[in-house]
């Protein structure tokens, strides 16, 4: 059985007097122990809401969460807050997008790391400080004992994200959720942070759910990739299968909009037209249809179903891209 099984997860934001917004609409995916799984999509497709729902971090008011998120046999969505607090940080930890705002500005880094150690591993005083320094060293922060006394604003962006990663892996969680961990960093630091995450996952056997808008980020590290669009999973496949052949026009477009070094000279980038606001409600047809280059009349006949091929490749499209060449 998978370490994390997300099944039919839906999140609806409902406020009195306002139209309901279905941010996540029946999303399912698995994360096996020690495996890296990618969740890809552009802003507003529901990927961050998915991760917050799994962690139970969405506000209780005005939010309806349904479906299942089974971690190690326990449905996290049905678990009471007290048990969740024990699980968070110890068994499942999370890394956020903006390292500066995710750190408390008036508390030294050291205290923020030892806080986790005290909470879940019962460490205190010198022992906790020592372990905190050790953790900072492990995530590649030089001179850790000095850094422990410093405040977040004194660290560089990459350093801050490393500190947050140190806090997240402090208790050797079995699942790590990284919500766009490199978005706020510049490109060279991005590569370093991804490398660090890869190493940590390989050394500790932690499973990693990698949430990103950048297919390039997941290309190098994920075992399988799920592509979300407008709250639904539109394509899912093991990495090798997906990069060899993409069926859903959205995925084709995501990859086509990334510059490649091996592209023929003079080839233009092909952005996806329109924006994520131009969606069709899923009930009326494919939400991507208004922006799709492969659109046919059948697209708006009704909601498309997820179709699976033999190679564990699923796509939600009535007129899929069947040959790599047609995408060019």
């Amino acid at each position: 059985m998978a370490l994390l099984e997300v099944k039919d997860l839906s999140v609806v934001f409902a406020r009195k007097g306002e139209r309901e917004v279905r941010a996540v609409d029946g999303v399912s995916f698995d994360v096996d122990a020690g495996e890296v799984v990618g969740l890809v999509g552009e802003s507003g497709c529901g990927k961050s809401v998915t991760s917050l729902a799994i962690m139970g971090l969405l506000p209780k008011r005005g939010v309806r969460v349904s479906g299942q998120a089974t971690f190690d046999g326990m449905n996290l969505l049905q678990t009471d807050e007290r048990t969740l607090r024990d699980i968070r940080g110890r068994d499942v930890a999370m890394i956020f997008q903006d390292p500066l705002s995710s750190l408390n500005p008036v508390v030294p880094i050291g205290l923020q790391v030892t806080e986790v150690l005290t909470r879940h591993r019962g460490m205190k005083g010198e022992a906790a400080k020592k372990e905190a320094a050790h953790l900072l060293e492990r995530v590649g922060i030089p001179d850790p004992t000095r850094r422990l006394k410093e405040y977040p604003h004194q660290l560089s962006g990459g350093m801050r994200q490393r500190a947050l990663i140190a806090m997240a892996v402090a208790c050797a969680p079995r699942l790590l959720i990284a919500d766009e961990p490199t978005t706020a960093l510049d490109v060279t630091i991005q590569a370093q942070i991804l490398e660090l995450l890869k190493d940590l996952v390989r050394d500790s056997g932690t499973a990693l759910l990698m949430i990103t808008h950048d297919l390039g980020v997941v290309a190098g590290m994920c075992k399988s990739i799920n592509v979300l669009y407008a709250g639904r999973r539109v394509e899912s496949a093991p990495r090798r299968v997906l990069f060899a052949q993409r069926h859903h026009p959205y995925t084709v477009g995501l990859l086509g909009s990334i510059p490649r070094l091996d592209a023929p000279k003079g080839e233009k980038l092909r952005p996806i037209t329109g924006s994520v606001r131009d969606v069709l409600p899923w009930a009326e047809g494919c939400a991507f249809a208004p922006r799709c280059f492969n659109r046919v009349d059948r697209c708006v006949d009704g909601p498309p179903e997820l179709v699976w091929t033999a190679a564990q490749h699923g796509y939600r499209c009535v007129n899929p891209v069947m040959e790599a060449e047609t995408a060019k």
């Binding site: 956020f96 705002s101 995710s102 750190l103 408390n104 008036v106 909470r119």
Partner: protein
């Protein structure tokens, strides 16, 4: 001349920025303190308050005359019934008051009680207000349905306090507790409770939706720990600024209570508010008797206000470079 001076300072600061290695472990508070030292208003406020505190601490040992002894009546110089109250002289720098006591000595000794009442009352208001506001803010920000109910209950109670005119509230508290110095302090402090409570609550609620609180929650940190070690330190700055400003109003309000005859029951003990109240019968004879304590109160309140405003600027993240 001034231009070169300013230029030099600018160059020095550039040098600081370029060459000086940043001190490790420099906290936001220390940075705020640095900004405070560069602000002339803060320096002025600090000097006024420093003098005031020194006078309050050591004044009673240095005064030329006993502040409660009616020297002027004893030696026949003061006959207030006939409107004879001598003014400034070499022996008595600010003259006598209506009971023949040395006005200068009373001003100096009175500083102590004035400061003491202001500080204790403000501290009382700060403590109670922060407790109520902190509890309400934390339970609203981090708690569920019951948290919001507790917050509602606490804040409606505070609203009731806020609905009463402050002087009326203070007068009724003194009336209930009986006339004593302590009840004056409690009454004046009570008036500022709603201000502190609302301020801390608002600032804690604003902080509770910040990313670092979410991050701490995602690490399983317990709610009371989040409230105390994350929310509180980030919410305290505006409350502390308010405390310095409240000190000024507390002194004025304590003086007001004394003026109404609800101050310290030991009416011979010198206090600026009492002195002001006593002077009202002799405004036509010796207006100075009202002016000296009034100026004392104004200058002290000004000192606290200057420092408080400067602190607000220094701690405001939006005004940082």
């Amino acid at each position: 001349m001034t231009l070169t001076g300013r230029k030099k300072e600018k160059i020095d600061r550039l040098g600081e920025l370029a060459g000086a290695p940043e001190e490790s472990g420099q906290s936001l508070l220390r940075e705020a303190f640095k900004r405070l030292r560069r602000n002339p208003a803060a320096i002025a406020g600090a000097i006024i308050l420093g003098l005031f505190v020194l006078i309050a601490l050591f004044g009673p040992f240095l005064v030329p005359h006993d502040p409660v002894e009616p020297i002027g009546v004893d030696n026949g110089e003061v006959r207030s019934g006939q409107g004879i109250i001598p003014g400034i002289s070499g022996e008595h720098w600010l003259g006598y008051d209506h009971q023949g006591r040395d006005e200068f000595s009373r001003m100096i000794v009175g500083a102590r009680q004035t400061l003491w009442v202001g500080v204790v009352a403000t501290f009382f208001g700060l403590a109670v207000g922060s407790l109520v506001g902190g509890l309400a803010g934390a339970s609203y920000g981090l708690g569920g349905k019951w948290g919001r109910r507790l917050d509602g209950f606490l804040m409606r109670t505070v609203d009731i306090l806020l609905a009463m005119p402050s002087l009326l509230l203070a007068v009724s508290i003194v009336a209930i507790l009986g006339r004593s110095l302590l009840s004056v302090m409690i009454a004046v402090g009570m008036v500022s409770v709603p201000v502190f409570a609302r301020l801390l609550r608002g600032s804690m609620i604003a902080q509770s939706s910040s990313d670092y609180v979410l991050a701490a929650t995602a690490l399983g940190v317990k709610r009371n720990k989040i409230a105390l070690s994350h929310l509180l330190p980030n919410s305290l700055a505006p409350v502390l600024v308010q405390a310095t400003l409240t000190l000024a109003t507390a002194i004025i309000e304590a003086a007001g209570l004394s003026f109404l005859g609800l101050g310290n029951p030991d009416s011979a003990a010198p206090e600026w508010g009492v002195m002001l109240a006593d002077a009202q019968g002799f405004l036509d004879v010796r207006p100075g008797l009202a002016i000296y304590p009034a100026v004392g109160i104004i200058i002290t309140a000004l000192g606290f206000t200057l420092l408080g405003e400067a602190m607000r600027e220094a701690l405001d993240p939006k005004l940082r470079k």
